[in-house]
Symmetry: C2
Subunit: 275 residues, 2 copies
Amino acid sequence: MEKVYNSEEEFLRDYDSSKFEKLSMTTDILIFSVSSEEVDNYRKTDKKKMSILLVKRDNYPFKDKWCLPGGFIGIDEDLDAAPKRILKKETNVDNIYLEQLYTFGSVNRDPRMRVVSTSYIALIDKNRLTNNLSNNASWFDITFYEEKDNIVDITLDNGNTTISFKIEKILREQTTDRYSFKILKNDSLAFDHPLVILSGIERLKNKIEYTDIVFNMMPEYFTLGELQQVYEVILGKKLLDPAFRRIIANKVEKTTKMKTGGGHRPSYLFRYKSK
Amino acid sequence: MEKVYNSEEEFLRDYDSSKFEKLSMTTDILIFSVSSEEVDNYRKTDKKKMSILLVKRDNYPFKDKWCLPGGFIGIDEDLDAAPKRILKKETNVDNIYLEQLYTFGSVNRDPRMRVVSTSYIALIDKNRLTNNLSNNASWFDITFYEEKDNIVDITLDNGNTTISFKIEKILREQTTDRYSFKILKNDSLAFDHPLVILSGIERLKNKIEYTDIVFNMMPEYFTLGELQQVYEVILGKKLLDPAFRRIIANKVEKTTKMKTGGGHRPSYLFRYKSK
DNA sequence: CTAATAGTGTCTATTAGACAGTATGTT
DNA sequence: AACATACTGTCTAATAGACACTATTAG
């Protein structure tokens, strides 16, 4: 028979938290940025790509495979504090844009034991990184390609290694925008991280349209051409100049600085204007 | 010194999962529906409200306070399976619309021990419930009111009990749509559930604009007036008839059935039309 | 001069907002 | 007849898409 308590204090003094079987929690962080690939033609501007930071596992499970930076949630650590701590460790930078993405909790996602993982998206301008990444971390350029029938092809490339995977998106209900993801092919990414990365890319594509999060990936001063390229690479399509400028007009302010040196008309540098 | 392993199998055989301190996970479910309040005037249509299912706690902590239905995640249970199981238990209905909302993980959100909770939104048409709710559960009508300066006032009422709380929304960064919530007043809701409820309402308000999730709260046949009222009560504002009908035109199909009996022109019944 | 990007003007198409009007059942 | 809701027509305002044009620099 259960004991009857007369106050919350009494109950808590007696409480045995071991009666439920506990589990481990981790966090995975999608650190997104933008990279520029130099082009041989002196007139042309650098080609921009989305990029993501991965780390190479030096331990089992998935030893020597690449995965998202992450780690365990401390028992005395706020859920949001863990990704902050890990981000600081990996990048040596504070004040990085961070938002919770999704919590993944299939029973067998980790071969060691039951682990539930809350993923986060971080956005950063690479110029803020003063080149002291932790030593098994590396930036991978993202190539994202959606085939007709809800099959998504993603390729990550850091110059040495190419990782590619393919995921099928299955609409869960007619009424919503939520998909179930099914991994069709995955060479070399650890855990269920292909799913996490795809979720993150989709979130980014969505939110770039109705928030100002892009500016977390931009340097303080930028040209509108550069900004437009970042939009285009994230959305995966070309935008028309006048329409683009109308839309971002009230988000940026023109400065007196200019960018010269390309073999073409110089452009004004703009800056993010918060409301 | 750490032991060196030569294969994943060997590593896993040896793996001691107890070296990290584990924690408990729960799920909280926001079960939303729509209720109609009868009006004395025979001509007028019933006034619709959003409603949410709460349960009364019969144990410490927060004994006798109301809270969201929820429970612990089983060690061998997929994260998504837990809310499904609890939903079935509380409502006796299968196939309810369910989507993950957010994972709350402040260190002290539960006085017993460290508990991280993943919240879910469920949407249901009350007509599907054949009146066998679990016996300490009750529907509360929601009144939602946003004061000028990001202070939100929410009142829940089930006819006997009125619960009200007040939350301040603080924009986290200039660039995003994410808020931190701060509870300014909370009489009688257990845990951090005021935050969970507010997050859920905001998600609902957002998604009703670009998905078809409303139809999960509607009966199979409905009039456009009823549908419009549901939109209005969720969005918290009046809509213009012609605009509303244009927007939902391709989401519904007219049937030959009609609704008569109000002291006014009868209306056609419509049905959700999936694409 | 040329290639390449910067930046603007303007027309058109589409969508959203507003208002006024007609239609029809119950009491 | 009167009230309340159903439903539609149409004008206007705002926004998005498309194209064409001018501007300016390094080589």
